[in-house]
């Protein structure tokens, strides 16, 4: 019966393998072919590494890689920092905190596409409430609107993402804080530990275990972002807010350049696997199963 558990796991693995192997093999094969879906229903000619060379040499790819890294690192860091601050606020035992917590998570429940529309409405240069608020406090806004300027487009996407996902960190880290044993805190208090020391020496290490898993999840979701970009800026103006996810969308579903999109896919797969692999190797070494 030693094989029984494997038998139970097998159907899901086989289905999933089938579902992900096909796209990966498809992309690998076609990354070596010239194929534009608008002009031909099948791949046209073998071109070796030409697609990869074209992708790597194109400024749009490099730009979107940089944008993606900026967005991903700053987004994850901001969401974690704000989330932790809110979690600490929630953990003061006051009336109404559980209601506040239940409502706070609402942004996270919304489909990213809808979040895109919500912010597009608020960023509107003609009558958006964010535009109005910023103009009222005397901020100098770009004439083309917040989403229409190369200086602010990526920032606008970042803000929308931080709005949606800060509550995610907040309520999960709050749950982590609640699980810190009271006896540990009492003992520290009796020893005369300051709030600062209690936070860094007791609470923070305790929530780090929780944080490890949600940090990488959020990091990767952000890395793959494209719905928010699609609705807010379409990667523009120029390539100023283009992310890797949106570049793939552009190459594949707008330009129908399957060869180039496939090459980009594999470059992204390699980057993603390198990041996740390294992270899992270091972060989950001491995880218990």
């Amino acid at each position: 019966m030693a094989y029984l558990p494997y038998l139970l796991v097998a159907p899901s693995i086989i289905l999933l393998l089938g579902l992900i192997a096909y796209p990966l093999v498809f992309a690998l094969k076609n990354s070596f072919y010239f194929w534009n879906l608008q002009t031909s229903a099948t791949p046209v000619g073998f071109v070796g590494f030409a697609n990869y060379q074209m992708v790597l040499a194109s400024p749009a790819f490099l730009n979107s890689l940089i944008n993606t890294l900026v967005l991903t690192f700053s987004g994850t860091a901001l969401e974690f920092a704000f989330g932790l601050a809110i979690a600490l606020l929630l953990s003061t035992r006051l009336r109404g905190m559980s209601v506040a917590r239940a409502l706070l998570i609402m942004p996270t429940t919304i489909a990213p596409i809808v979040v895109g529309f919500l912010f597009r409405y608020m960023y509107d240069p003609q009558g958006g409430i964010i535009t109005w608020l910023m103009a009222s406090i005397g901020l100098d806004l770009p004439a083309q609107g917040i989403l229409g300027s190369t200086n602010t487009a990526l920032l606008a996407i970042l803000i929308a993402d931080v709005w949606q996902w800060t509550p995610f960190f907040a309520i999960i880290l709050y749950a982590g804080l609640l699980s810190v044993p009271v006896s540990l805190l009492e003992a520290a208090r009796l020893d005369g530990a300051s709030a600062w020391v209690m936070f860094w020496r007791i609470k923070f290490p305790f929530v780090m275990r929780t944080a490890l898993i949600i940090l990488i999840l959020r990091f990767m979701q952000l890395f793959n972002t494209f719905d928010l970009v699609l609705v807010l800026t379409r990667g523009g103006p120029g390539t100023s807010s283009r992310t890797l996810g949106y570049t793939l969308y552009q190459q594949g579903l707008i330009d129908f350049n399957i060869g180039m999109a496939s090459a980009t896919t594999w470059l992204v797969v390699i980057i993603v696997n390198a990041i996740v692999g390294l992270y899992i190797f270091f972060a989950f070494r001491k995880w218990e199963w």
Partner: protein
């Protein structure tokens, strides 16, 4: 866990909390208001806070002509279908990973987790070509099928955390009596984790309901889901924002209700069971 704060500190905390609510809930309310505003008040500086609400846009969305009613139904079919198809795959897997010693347990769990981090956009074109070739393009089934790449890993992780909590002793007694593994799983363990099964299905439903990437390439005019419906408004010239907002509100309500009703399990659902909450 903290001692109760003093009145002044309490006041500061409540003020901060009010600000947080304004920042995080305000935009949602502002967008919902857009769906019931008279058109002339949507884009004004300064914003119009008080107005005579109108149900015109919502009527347009759901009833007459019901511009998004079909998409709402499609979203429901796809999300329910994805959750139902997932159960026979994820439940046995979660059971095995919870109950048996497996050398590669860690690897398998991380493999599922890795799938949840894959870039969906990278899979869209291959799926589009594949589904066209096998004649499934534009069908509910095509979306339900590819959604499994997200729903199964999610459900296995979450279900495992619930099964982990059922004491093994209950199963041991039946095992001593000579019951087969499947009898034990179906008759003893699963009835005990029924709440977990419901919670998992609910959050998996939200996951599928909110997905826009797969329907973007796999749905047809007839099978388009709500997120695609909102996008379609945008593609046409002369955007009618009240229609976008009312379609978006219809898309927003089910996930919000599920999160409010299953509030106790939200942390657990969002962390795939890794944090009990």
């Amino acid at each position: 866990m903290e001692h109760h704060p003093r009145p002044l500190r309490r006041l500061v905390i409540y003020a901060l909390l009010a600000l947080l609510m304004l920042f995080f809930i305000g935009p949602i309310i502002w967008f919902i208001l857009l769906a019931i505003r008279p058109p002339g008040t949507a884009f004004t500086m300064p914003p119009v806070l008080f107005f005579e609400p109108t149900a015109d846009a919502i009527r347009h969305t759901l009833v007459d002509p019901g511009a998004n009613a079909r998409q709402a139904r499609n979203s429901l079919i796809v999300a329910l279908g994805a959750v139902l198809l997932n159960l026979p795959f994820s439940v046995p897997a979660a059971y095995a990973l919870s109950r048996y010693r497996m050398k590669s347990k860690k690897f398998i769990m991380l493999w599922y987790l890795g799938l949840l981090m894959a870039p969906p956009i990278a899979f869209l074109i291959p799926y589009f070509v594949l589904m066209t070739q096998i004649g499934l393009s534009g069908t509910y089934l095509s979306m339900i099928l590819v959604l499994q790449t997200l729903i199964i890993p999610f459900s296995v992780w979450l279900m495992k955390s619930f099964i982990d909590e059922v004491p093994r002793e209950l199963e041991e007694a039946a095992r001593v009596d000579g019951a087969a593994w499947y009898v034990i799983m179906l008759r003893i363990t699963l009835p005990l984790v029924r709440p977990g099964l419901i919670v998992t299905s609910m959050f998996a439903f939200v996951f599928a309901w909110n997905n826009a990437a797969f329907p973007l390439v796999l749905s047809s005019q007839q099978t388009a889901t709500l997120p695609i419906g909102t996008l379609n408004y945008f593609a046409s010239t002369g955007v009618t924002w009240s229609f976008i907002a009312s379609a978006a509100v219809v898309a927003m309500v089910p996930p919000m209700l599920i999160f409010l009703v299953f509030d106790r399990y939200v942390v657990r659902g969002l962390t795939f069971g890794a944090v009990k909450g």
